[in-house]
């Protein structure tokens, strides 16, 4: 059946920052799982659920996001009708700052669609699921809002939203950053709402000068509205800190989780890069429990790690428990353990970087170590 919903992705969140990883980019644009960015997951979920109109709300650092999205072609969103809409912030002409209270771009986007419902997604999680059951549950209920939750007992991150439900499955309590929730039901950043109600909320928000349009900002209205909660049963990886990013990356190495995350029926789409196939050179070291990508050249020893496209691991180098972003070069004899290295960085000969479990070392983009 035709999905009567448009998508709205909140690509950034001022309260969730991942150090140097979010310095140059929005959360949604953080590279993940070798050849994807976080936004690819929720965007593909939307497209795989039949959504054909998606708006992406960016805050300040939207260059890498825009580069990645292009015309939306990888997600089949380059269309004459509907398709992909980037919604960057309006710049205040006097202060030359992004106008924090201006939701006009979002209002215009929502207004001009002809769908009855809006699926709003945050960008601090990764999953592969169809949003259709949530949309249908919303349509079939009397709820004003439907929110997705997961029983992963997640409460260590910022903005962990625990909910308590009444007997009919409606939210009766919402607690933020409250580790003692007995329900163990934590909100996944995904809401279904009717277009009219969303427009009303956005207009109120502008009138009150509220700075942040966020999942939490909407859910805080739970006392005014009937908020239904639906459980997400697929594996969920939350990304709200460097430690949780690292942990989520390592979980993708688990073949069962990886197969759920990249199901054949619901592909996760991303921008193509047309790199050569990955080469494991003759006489390379052990390569085990490694997710590697096109354009990589592996001459050294790699274990329990993720290599994005174009990484080069020099002879005699030893890379363990690490995540190396696109085009990172590891020279001969380097030893890395528990390290995340951002794009285009180089670790020169015989360098040693040793992080700790739970506290990976993070190297910024374009660095030379």
């Amino acid at each position: 059946m035709i999905t009567d919903a448009m998508g709205l992705i909140l690509a950034d969140n001022r309260r969730i920052q991942l150090g140097v990883l979010t310095e140059p980019r929005a959360i949604a644009a953080i590279p993940f799982a070798g050849r994807f960015r976080i936004i690819d997951f929720t965007l593909s979920n939307m497209v795989n659920s039949g959504i054909k109109r998606v708006g992406v709300v960016a805050l300040t650092k939207y260059k890498s996001l825009m580069d990645h999205m292009g015309t939306g072609a990888p997600w089949d969103l380059d269309r004459m009708r509907q398709g992909l809409y980037m919604i960057p912030p309006y710049i205040n002409p006097i202060t030359r700052e992004p106008d924090r209270t201006d939701a006009q771009g979002v209002i215009d986007y929502v207004k001009t669609g002809d769908q009855r419902y809006v699926v709003i997604s945050g960008s601090a999680f990764v999953t592969n699921t169809s949003y259709k059951p949530v949309i249908n549950a919303h349509i079939e209920s009397n709820a004003d809002l439907t929110v997705l939750y997961h029983k992963d007992g997640q409460f260590d991150g910022p903005l962990a939203m625990a909910i308590e439900l009444d007997d009919d499955g409606y939210v009766r309590d919402l607690m933020v950053d409250y580790p003692r929730s007995t329900s163990q039901k934590y909100v996944v950043g995904l809401i279904v709402i009717s277009r009219n109600l969303l427009l009303q909320l956005l207009t109120e928000m502008m009138a009150r000068g509220i700075a942040d349009f966020s999942i939490l900002g909407i859910l805080e209205n739970y006392k005014r509205f009937r908020v239904q909660a639906v459980e997400l049963e697929e594996p969920l990886l939350r990304i709200h800190s460097v430690a949780s990013y690292f942990d989520a990356s390592m979980q993708v190495l688990d073949t069962k989780i990886r197969h759920k995350l990249f199901s054949i029926d619901r592909p996760i789409y991303t921008k193509a890069k047309n790199r050569a196939p990955c080469i494991v050179a003759p006489g390379s070291g052990v390569v085990k429990n490694v997710l590697a990508s096109d354009g990589c050249a592996i001459m050294g020893h790699v274990e329990n790690s993720i290599l994005f496209r174009g990484c080069v691991i020099g002879r005699g180098a030893r890379v363990t428990n690490s995540v190396l972003f696109q085009d990172v070069q590891i020279s001969e004899g380097v030893v890395l353990d528990h390290v995340i290295i951002d794009k285009n960085s180089v670790v020169k000969m015989d360098g040693r970087l040793l992080g700790q479990p739970g506290f990976p070392i993070v190297i910024e983009k374009n660095a030379i170590v």
Partner: protein
């Protein structure tokens, strides 16, 4: 249509019969190559990288896979408002209907397509060669020589020259004689089957050739020799890069192995001349806890839990723990179960090799009824796409196993009509 100075026509209708079961259901240009690619990615990417924006792809033999692979040309940046890729199959008309009778006839039948762009130059390319070539340089040489036809040639070893079409030139590079497979070659410049023509001249020559009932309507056999005889200015353009006609099982296997053993030859990592391909939309590839991999190329969606040595692994391939694959090519979607041992094998798309199957050149007690020495040499064994090779089957080298064997030997081989990915058993 708006004018294009140069248009390229890729001949992609050939069967490639020497590839046997690999081209039973797909045209040769759609055969997987070098882990990530199909053979036609090379001429298509060469067009894109040379700045040629209008490309006709002439199809005839088993075109479905090729058509769906090329789509609207998006993967090669050839989805354009003006120009782009056109799939050109033979068609019916009021005055009769013909399959493409030969390479020249295929172009002859598409004169209206070429005319619609009003080009100055037409490149005739073959859809089944592995090479990287800047066609613009060839067109420039064509213009500088004031040529009417330019033929790309490559130096071949003297002892092999008698296998090729040899161009004999005068001191200015003008072709004075074309000899097809000469017993005593006068030089070693072999035609690569890549031509640049001034369209006006080619158009006339094609019409003349079509009117000649004795002609086989072939560029190499008829049109080019005819042009030389008629005194047209035909020049050679010497190409000195890597070029391989992957028309046989041995040359296909060798060319794949060269990616591993001499990666500088075709140099797929050269970002100034990227070879584009359709994106399979799969995750990064994974090496398991017990994998042993060396001298191997691999791409998206593949998972190696066993051993791969000197092997080309395409996308969506699984090699289970306990399987050992050596000197082989695993085409997209192939699945190698635990205990299987493959040496010098080419496994077709979506074929599953069950547990403890052994296929090696000198397999003891191996079945020898699949041996096909006409097509398979050097101990290389080929498995057709969409087969299941059943548990424990042992096969000697130089075998070629196709769908027809599934009917004759159901105890060893089964045909699977549709691709369905099987779960990895861990």
């Amino acid at each position: 249509m708006a004018k294009q100075d140069i248009i390229a026509m890729i001949l992609a209708g050939g069967q490639g019969s020497r590839l046997g079961v690999l081209t039973e259901l797909v045209a040769k240009p759609a055969v997987p190559f070098g882990s990530r690619y199909r053979i036609i990615d090379f001429p298509l990417s060469n067009c894109t990288n040379s700045g040629i924006e209008a490309v006709g792809v002439l199809t005839q033999y088993q075109p479905l896979e090729l058509n769906s692979y090329i789509g609207n040309g998006h993967s090669w940046d050839l989805d354009r408002n003006n120009g782009g890729t056109y799939i050109l199959p033979p068609y019916l008309s009021q005055v009769g209907n013909d399959w493409y009778k030969g390479t020249a006839n295929a172009i002859y039948q598409n004169i209206p397509f070429i005319d619609s762009y009003d080009p100055k130059y037409v490149l005739i390319l073959s859809g089944d060669h592995i090479y990287k070539m800047d066609y613009l340089k060839m067109v420039e040489s064509h213009i500088n020589n004031e040529a009417e036809a330019t033929i790309a040639v490559i130096e071949v070893p003297w002892e092999e020259a008698s296998r090729f079409g040899i161009m004999n030139t005068d001191e200015t590079g003008r072709v004075v004689e074309f000899e097809e497979k000469p017993a005593e070659p006068k030089n070693n410049l072999a035609s690569m089957g890549i031509y640049c023509f001034s369209w006006k001249v080619l158009r006339e020559s094609l019409i003349l050739d079509e009117a000649n009932p004795d002609s086989r309507n072939d560029f190499g056999a008829n049109v080019i020799p005819g042009m030389i005889e008629a005194g047209y200015d035909v020049f050679t353009y010497a190409f000195d890069g890597y070029w391989k006609d992957v028309g046989t099982i041995s040359s296909l296997w060798e060319s794949n192995m060269e990616i591993l053993n001499d990666p500088t030859l075709i140099n797929l990592r050269d970002i100034s001349w990227t070879i584009y391909s359709k994106n399979p939309q799969r995750p990064s590839h994974y090496f398991g806890h017990d994998s042993k991999v060396d001298n191997t190329a691999i791409t998206d969606g593949s998972e190696i839990f066993g051993e791969c040595h000197s092997t080309i692994v395409s996308y969506n391939v699984v090699v289970e723990k306990g399987a050992v694959v050596t000197d082989s090519i695993l085409m997209p979607g192939s699945y190698i179960e635990s205990g299987a041992v493959l040496t010098r094998c080419i496994v077709g798309m979506d074929t599953r090799i069950e547990g403890n199957v052994r296929a090696t050149p000198d397999e003891e007690d191996g079945l020898d009824m699949f041996v096909n020495e006409k097509l398979c040499k050097d101990g290389i064994t080929v498995f057709a796409p969409n087969l299941i090779i059943k548990e424990g089957t042992k096969i000697v080298g130089n075998s070629m196993i196709g769908a027809e064997h599934a009917r004759d030997y159901p105890q060893y081989i089964e045909e699977v009509p549709h691709y369905s990915r099987m779960e990895v058993s861990l």
